[in-house]
């Protein structure tokens, strides 16, 4: 890494190279008894955005690092890496999770959807279009997580999953600004685009209930 050639590498290349060497460096799993700190490798196969992917990974690799550093799907972002910010939110078997707090090897057979699987620049997902229209971001770093989370939030409301602000646990659910704000609380936006994010999601939901605009 001290070689001057490395100076031409981008920051992303450097980080990827570091993560990759962490994943494959050291002795193979069979030699690990002699060196307790050597990585243990394991195989996992899952579907990412409809495509079957098989990886041999250090067991420590999070789903987030598998997506970003091994599959080069860098749409999913690493913010806090501790499940506090939501930038790493992806959808696994229809449910949103923090990919930073999940081991890749625990996703055998799972179907994973990342922001790259929701839409493309020439074919935006309605939530992506709505975020652009309503200016639901400034720097954009949290946006992929916000959009994956929002997609799952709308599905959760449809499926009748209540929230902390649902007034009556036995009533039908409504899409209100209050509901969206509560359900999106696991996605932090340090630029503070929250009110525009709620408007964007509300529009895709078919409009917020009356008197509940953000």
């Amino acid at each position: 890494m001290a070689d001057t050639e490395d100076l031409s590498l981008s920051r992303r290349d450097l980080m990827a190279a570091g993560a990759a060497s962490a994943a494959i460096a050291g002795a193979p799993a069979t030699a690990s008894a002699a060196t307790p700190d050597a990585p243990h490798l394991a195989q996992v196969t899952f579907k990412v955005n409809g495509q079957k992917r098989s990886l041999t990974l250090d067991t420590r690799t999070t789903l987030l690092d598998a997506l970003r550093e091994h599959l080069r799907l860098t749409g999913t972002k690493k913010g806090c890496d501790h499940g506090q910010c939501g930038a790493c939110t992806v959808i696994v078997d229809g449910r949103r999770i923090n990919s930073c707090l999940s081991l890749a090897v625990m996703h055998e057979g799972d179907e994973i959807t990342t922001i790259e699987g929701l839409g493309a620049p020439d074919k935006l997902h309605p939530l992506q279009a709505a975020f652009i229209k309503h200016d639901g971001y400034q720097c954009g770093y949290c946006t992929p997580g916000q959009i994956c989370s929002a997609k799952a939030v709308l599905d959760e409301i449809k499926a009748g999953v209540p929230s902390h602000v649902t007034a009556d646990l036995t009533d039908a659910l409504k899409v209100t600004a209050e509901e969206l704000r509560e359900r999106m609380s696991g996605n932090i936006c340090r630029c503070g685009a929250y009110s525009n994010i709620v408007e964007a999601i509300g529009e895709v939901a078919g409009g917020l209930s009356k008197g509940e605009m953000a």
Partner: protein, 316 residues
């Protein structure tokens, strides 16, 4: 994070037996707390036993009219279950007051009970902590204590248990079902499941080495009006400073438990009996023996007021 081997357990007894043979092993289910602690090297398991394939993910009616909640039922599914919403509203409310949607989708019933304290000194590996290193000393005592326990504390630890769900489980008199490494099963009343810190704050539950939670059982519904009132520093996605779980009946009788104030959900039988006498009597009994610092003494006033708010909420 330290390197570890990874395996998938096939039966609960097999998982318990494997864990008992290897003190460096940990079970992993949702992983939302364990992985966070492993990244910080507060937890350093050398062997992870994945219990997600054990089919402990059903909510079933019991013979005596209660519910048996599989250890692997996700917090989202438990909170959304129609039977829970109708008959055990306090549990649904407590779950929905905790964490974020993403975390609730992963976090399990057993894992929620077993989550570790969020004491900042427990998380800071540069500071002594009796939970991390027994005998090292407690950095919280004499440190910043605003979020810490005021009841049941010891000279060794003033950490709180962070779970909302457990407070509701306590007020519902749930039981924790387990299997031991030799295949023997037992049922532990939730009141006895979490321990006070005493001289061994690193021993947080009644579980023995390798013992695996298979389910949490709720007795038949007791009726009444249910409420969970949580007070925190922001409106969503934060741990409780103080929380109150309550079930009130029309005749004024009921039950109450507090969260955010002790090393375990806090319930006092005499305080339950005092409910018809009003909030003042209840909070005096609940908070008897409290030991506060200048930074967390506010929790006593807050608990009394939160109790009032919870009771008003239950009656509304």
């Amino acid at each position: 994070m330290k390197a570890f081997t990874y395996e998938r357990a096939r039966t609960p007894a097999e998982a318990a037996s494997a864990a008992a043979k290897d003190p460096t092993a940990r079970f992993i289910a949702g992983g939302t707390n364990l992985l966070d602690l492993m990244k910080l090297e507060i937890e350093t398991p050398r062997r992870l036993i994945d219990v997600n394939g054990l089919r402990l993910d059903k909510i079933e009616a019991t013979k005596d009219g209660g519910l048996r909640i599989g250890a692997l039922v996700r917090n989202t599914d438990l909170a959304a279950d129609k039977r829970v919403r109708k008959d055990y509203g306090v549990l649904s409310r407590a779950l929905l007051a905790g964490a974020s949607g993403q975390l609730r989708n992963k976090a399990t019933t057993a894992g929620n009970l077993l989550q570790r304290t969020r004491c900042p000194y427990f998380y800071d590996t540069n500071m002594p902590c009796n939970k991390r290193t027994p005998g090292a000393g407690c950095s919280a005592i004499g440190g910043f204590t605003r979020s810490h326990a005021v009841l049941g504390t010891s000279e060794a630890c003033i950490a709180t248990h962070p779970s909302d769900m457990a407070v509701a489980m306590r007020v519902l008199d749930a039981s924790v079902e387990t299997v031991k490494p030799d295949g023997v099963t037992r049922s532990i009343p939730i009141a006895d499941f979490h321990r006070l810190p005493g001289n061994t704050p690193h021993v947080e539950t009644a579980l023995t080495p390798g013992e695996l939670i298979t389910a949490v059982t709720l007795p038949k519904p007791v009726g009444g009006m249910h409420a969970y009132h949580k007070v925190r520093d922001r409106a969503s996605y934060a741990f409780a400073l103080v929380s109150v779980a309550t079930i009130l009946h029309k005749d004024g009788s009921g039950r109450v438990a507090l969260g955010g104030v002790a090393h375990k959900p806090w319930r006092v039988e005499a305080a339950d009996s005092a409910l018809p006498q009003g909030i003042k009597s209840v909070s005096e009994l609940l908070l008897a023996g409290a030991k506060t610092t200048s930074q967390n003494a506010f929790k006593l006033t807050l608990a009394e007021r939160a109790l009032g708010a919870a009771m008003a909420q239950a009656r509304s």
